[in-house]
Symmetry: C2
Subunit: 425 residues, 2 copies
């Protein structure tokens, strides 16, 4: 079955279409934290953040159905739902982040955010880390070292070494904040010297694709000061850490202790309905809106707004941020109790966590081992993946209703998989 | 009510957020070709192509509800719905257009199409008409003269004068095909001479934003020959004319008599659910897919695929292409029977048509008159708009179930509105 689906995909979608796992999973049904394949096999979803409140949450499904049967049109007509949503969304944000543009994807959101930086500063230079991913549009793909852009990297994009848990920038965890900031300062100077000028920095405040390194409190403060002195804009890409996932904070930038000018959102916003957003301070929004007559046909339509409202409501009503905090802490406690020679670090926040595997004291990444472990977990019926520069960190980022029992099943399965996966000589 | 909604919009969305009409309409319900405002007033929708098969079509709503309650995940897992849809979609296309990337918006589709041209040719120069709009991403916004991009126009984009009904390029309708092609040839030469090189041309094959000029058969043939000789790619943006709207043809490029390498789609694809697509010949798809590891989280998800399948099925089952042909012809016949001193031309195809208003024999655009007429039609309960370089052409592009009776109501209302709108001295 899967093989013929793969052949159909190649015929209809072309080559090099990404899938997960050596033998991709053919999923046909979802409910809560569970997925079922075409053969009736049940999987624990320990990976997907898109189904924020759980696969096919009845309240979100009902909101979509009700609104789809009533009206679906665009923001050139007036409608209350998009305003109700922006009102509730911005109520969760501080730092003067009070206005939004609704779009359909995180990529569209970041594509706008870059132009907000340009419209606000009159300059174009953007800094990102050297192991990030911010989306798939032509402009945004130029920020991603994980997938090089067509046409190569342009001179207005500069990369700084990503923070790292086990191999800190500057040589030690204590040095890392200042060392990271010095690299940003150097990139700013290069952009200014080149005549391009510095517009801003974009970052995932949890450094998710970088392997979500453990960072000391105040890590970003020296960098923020450098950016502010240079007159740049800070864009926090909350596509992964946002909406309560980190447990202690609703937003990744508040967890990091950062006051962004622009926040971008996507994946979990509407539990899988294609919704993204850019939230900005009014002066940044005005600079963009006045420089460009932006309109997005599907962005903020009543059905998308209804799905996003329901997702936000369920997140609150079911206490999913607190659940992320409690269950995540429990999972990490159990993971830290595992004994295995390759475990380099157990880390993360709330329901975004993982284990980094290394082969020796010099922190040599156990990438192939981690890859085999991911496959073995899939065989055991638990879906997760790996991330970070070397692909040697498990990426565990489940739907937020993930329970203590789900966490126990995850860790028990991992314990068995670790025992079954050969350790490199 | 509308006033306070406008104030809320300004507070929550910022300045310069586009709306239709002097007093924007607050729509709360839709069904078929009808929309209702918050005061219970009913409007005939003669403008929106997004609700392709009619507002809130029960079959599309049911498909969305059923799939949203079953599974909504992404294409890194296998699923049949996205393949079923691409199979049915590409079956409607000739010219070897057999593979697709599913995205969420027409803007995302065009953003990819530009990179397909770059990946295929190794060059970057793009030609578009000087009165078009292809979307809102940073890359695509550079193609649109109707809304200048932030940062200005880059050197790799060249514009050629758009074809025109009443003011033909080259001075006459007979000269227009060759004159248009000569301008394209000149732009190609400029791109090649500058060292940028020519990658391709993007066009709406119906020249919708250009005011959908009446064109002689074979209009594009000389231009196509010029582009082929230069080794460029042709991108047909079918966001407006596609999916049977033109009546005689399912696709705008077949109506124009053009064999594109890439076709992009958006608005009407899934009746309002955020779905777009790029369809390409396999060698063009491979050039892109191998140059860039493209993945779109929401693109081609099972719910989006279900909505798109249902929309395509209803379009066929209800004979909406034939309806567009018959009702569109009837509407134009009735419009041509109207007597009014400012009517310059009645034109269009299927259910995409309009009237261009001019003040004199030199074809001076009656832009202000047309603007007032649009407002008067809104007051009369008929929603439409205006388009073209001078904004003096009515844009009538209703949902496809638009009936003969709907067309009569439209024309009767227009006749009254024409009688009530002062003619400029």
């Amino acid at each position: 079955m899967s093989e013929s689906l793969l052949a159909r995909r190649a015929r209809l979608m072309g080559p090099n279409v990404p899938t997960f796992y050596e033998t991709p999973v053919h999923i046909v049904r979802g409910e809560g934290v569970w997925l079922w394949d075409a053969g009736g096999r049940k999987y624990l979803d320990a990976y997907n953040n898109v189904p924020q409140v759980g696969h096919c949450h009845p309240k979100v499904v009902e909101a979509i159905c009700r609104q789809a049967a009533t009206l679906n049109t665009h923001t050139r007509y007036l409608h209350e739902a998009v305003l109700d949503y922006i009102e509730r969304l911005t109520a969760t944000l501080g730092h003067g982040l009070s206005q939004a543009i609704m779009v359909c994807t995180g990529s569209e959101a970041n594509d706008i955010a870059l132009r907000m930086a340009q419209a606000t500063t009159g300059k174009r230079g953007i800094i990102a880390t050297d192991n990030t991913y911010h989306g798939n549009t032509a402009a945004v793909s130029q920020l991603s070292t994980r997938r090089p852009p067509i046409g190569g990297y342009p001179p207005h994009v500069r990369f700084v070494p990503a923070p790292d848990s086990l191999r800190p920038v500057g040589g030690s965890a204590a040095e890392q904040p200042q060392a990271f900031a010095r690299n940003v300062a150097r990139a700013i100077a290069e952009l200014e010297d080149s005549g391009i000028g510095f517009a801003g920095m974009i970052l995932c405040p949890f450094f998710a694709n970088e392997g979500f390194p453990a960072l000391s409190p105040g890590f970003f403060a020296p960098t923020e000061a450098v950016i502010r002195r240079a007159g740049g804009i800070i864009i926090a890409d909350e596509v992964q850490p946002g909406f309560g996932r980190l447990g202690t904070h609703f937003w990744g930038h508040d967890w990091l202790g950062l006051a962004p000018d622009v926040v971008t959102m996507g994946k979990p916003m509407a539990n899988g309905h294609p919704v993204g957003a850019v939230v900005a301070r009014p002066e940044v929004m005005a600079a963009f809106r006045e420089a460009f007559g932006y309109f997005n046909t599907f962005g903020g339509n009543p059905v998308s707004a209804a799905a996003a409202i329901a997702t936000l409501e369920v997140t609150r009503e079911e206490g999913l941020q607190e659940n992320a905090r409690v269950v995540g802490a429990h999972a990490r406690e159990r993971l830290r109790a595992l004994s295995h020679p390759l475990i380099g670090e157990v880390r993360g926040e709330g329901l975004f966590f993982g284990v980094e595997f290394v082969t020796d004291d010099r922190m040599t990444p156990a990438s192939a081992f981690t890859a085999r472990l991911v496959e073995r977990m899939r065989e055991a019926g638990v879906l997760l993946n790996r991330i970070g520069r070397h692909g040697n960190t498990l990426k565990i980022r489940p739907p937020l209703p993930f329970s203590r029992e789900n966490a126990d099943l995850l860790v028990d399965s991992l314990e068995r998989a670790l025992a079954q996966t050969p350790v490199p000589a």
